[in-house]
Symmetry: C2
């Protein structure tokens, strides 16, 4: 019986567990600090009050319950002892025959961690509800404010980072203020809302073609979003952001500008890349420890014929997770390993209702067709029949009513209420 | 133009605002510390992972958007200056011609507020998700625990208070451990779960008849819930609870034992009752200040022919809110006030799936029929077509699949994740 430990229940870890599920002579323990698998591509919709957290998060043990050889434990992995084939958790040490590390990435502020309090990122359910709280509270404060300068500050939203998440957040805030909120306020004209998307590089969506990038900029501008490119942010504080000499007063700043791989990579004894990712062999394992696989956002994998490592996208992690499971099974069966091959499924970003940009191989399209494709692809990949059904209904409702289903301001902390 | 200020967007305040909506010569400002109206009768289902917060909470300004004379402000009312017809909020003072106080109640620990940290109550969305976190985390900890005594402690759940909320919580935990969780754990037998409902008085559901009370006890016992009556809790701490000499070791203790009306009652200059409620005239206003109405859980109203004040139930608050709106309109039109009359719609409590007890006038029924009635009544009163639709779908799903839709452990506090 070979003991496999999987750390992380994201796309990579979950698919590795599924691949190893109910396989002979293999015993799997999946450890995650959360009880749920999070469908991160739709997390921005929770932040924008379109979906509820439970719509895109599912208990890992529920997803894996049919695999009798898989055990799920909620806990933190604190460090790794690769030489002893042991991991250290907050509930004791665990030994393994194979270790699959799939802990993903969190956002980074490029040595300015003091900015986080003013500009939350978007990687967890808590952060999504915090962003939702800040955005909705800004409108509430603007409504009760009589000073026009303060009102203007409350109605200014800055999103730092022009990747897909930044574009999706900016588009959603633009749309929210134009359509959803407009009818419900008496003291403000929500159309006064200013949404500014700031990107350090020369264009937004840098991983897309220039044509898609221009299309996305135009689509955002139609929603009233101002796009600032070649604008590296130099300061974030309680007044707003600075871009060199320029200053924007904004009550709400959101961060979508950079990610860094899990801190567990520091225990691997290897030089990490700029984003903290660890270089792995062609079969996704460590050079010195072939029984240790690293996949998803935690690994840096460069395919033959390319200079760039694979991007931190769900399809990459999903394929790597499945691939690693197959290699473990092959080895247990006495077969040699194969090399990982990535099947590029393309990339997409959505901009408010009815608009998106998509690139699949040589095909590039935008507008309603791209948006419908985006919808179908995300529904298809979403885990669990119930979640799919609920998201479809909420989207249909939102499309017809211009309403957002989950406009709930929940307190950041759990307060005591009794005397 | 008469200025009406309503404090509180619960059943009483919301229905007062609806009653005054689009009425001539009346200008309404509704102030609530939250942006949402909460359908509290279903809050226990959020705590028990059956529904998502957004399913039972709706933005107040969305509900009232069609009333052009109603303005909604999110903010805290800090004190009252009745002689000056002014309220003091955290965004300044506001004057009124009519004031409608409908701030409800929070739970109380009978001079033991230090118990709250060990035994959260259930009045807000935050508390519901905190209870959900504790209950689900207890199962997670039991799964990774090897010491049988610690495991037993994690699997012991104590609910203090045998009113409808306590009964509903106990039934739901019993059911959750029997059906939903059983298949997904490897290291524990979730049937080992011990659920204890503790009531200080001689029987649970004291506001119901003795027959209903006995029926509910039998139904709870079928779900494995142990009912302890005549058992006043004397201590709550991190080990569990004490009832006199007896001790129960429990990792999870929930509080459903008592409520106290809003602290704003302290500004009314009147002697309050045991639950902090203020006595009002037959027309729901203060004796000295007929322009100040108090309704819902904040007021103590005794109908003719009864010794007991009206209970803190949604139908009472709803009828009082509507009634007060009518009186303001009458007075603005120069008509005299009428007295408040309460139409008793009965009471209900549900116990797990397919079981409930209900009393309506002389009719008393239980079992599946009562449960169906409970479902229909709650769906009928739930605000908003979308919320109704979603709750119906989730209930149907849960009924078929024995699954709970929102088994999500969300952190208590928003943590910082960046370096």
């Amino acid at each position: 019986m070979k003991k496999v430990i999987i750390v992380g229940g994201g796309f990579a870890g979950l698919n590795a567990a599924k691949g190893l599920g109910n396989k002979k002579n293999i015993e799997v323990t999946l450890i995650d600090s959360r009880n749920h698998h999070l469908f991160q591509p739709l997390l921005y919709q929770v932040a924008m009050a379109g979906l509820s957290p439970a719509d895109i998060a599912m208990p890992i043990r529920e997803i894996l319950k049919k695999f009798k050889n898989v055990r799920v434990l909620q806990g933190n992995v604190e460090s790794l002892k690769l030489a002893e084939r042991t991991i250290v958790t907050d509930f004791g040490e665990k030994s393994y025959d194979y270790l699959i590390l799939a802990c993903g990435a969190k956002h980074t502020y490029f040595s300015h961690s003091e900015w986080e309090v003013f500009a939350p990122g978007l990687k967890t359910i808590e952060q999504a509800t915090e962003i939702r709280r800040r955005v909705l509270t800004a409108f509430e404060k603007a409504e009760r404010e009589n000073d026009p300068l303060d009102q203007k500050k409350h109605l200014t939203f800055v999103i730092v980072g022009g990747g897909p998440t930044g574009v999706e957040l900016a588009g959603a805030i633009g749309e929210m203020s134009r359509f959803t909120i407009a009818k419900e306020f008496r003291n403000i004209d929500p159309k006064l809302t200013k949404v500014i998307l700031i990107e350090a590089g020369p264009r937004i969506l840098p991983s897309f073609t220039e044509a898609s990038s221009s299309q996305a900029t135009r689509d955002l501008e139609k929603l009233g979003v101002q796009v600032w490119t070649s604008s590296p942010v130099t300061q974030v504080d309680d007044r707003g952001v600075a871009v060199g000499e320029e200053r924007i007063n904004a009550a709400t700043v959101l961060w979508a500008a950079g990610v860094k791989a899990s801190h567990l990579n520091n225990y691997l004894g290897l030089k990490l890349d700029q984003s903290g990712r660890v270089p792995v062999r062609g079969d996704m394992c460590l050079h010195q420890f072939p029984e240790v696989f690293v996949c998803g956002d935690q690994a840096s994998v460069t395919m033959e014929g390319s200079d760039e490592p694979l991007p931190g996208l769900a399809p990459v992690a999903l394929q790597q997770g499945r691939y690693v499971a197959r290699q473990v099974i092959r080895e247990v069966q006495g077969k040699p390993r194969e090399n990982f091959k990535y099947h590029n499924k393309g990339q997409m970003a959505t901009i408010g209702r009815s608009r998106a940009v998509a690139e699949m191989g040589k095909f590039r399209f935008s507008g309603f067709l791209a948006w419908m494709t985006w919808l179908l692809v995300h529904i298809y990949y979403l885990t669990g029949f119930k979640n799919r059904l609920f998201v479809v209904i909420q989207w249909a409702w939102a499309y017809i009513s211009f309403d957002r289903g989950a406009r709930l301001i929940v307190d950041k902390e759990w307060r005591f209420y009794a005397d």
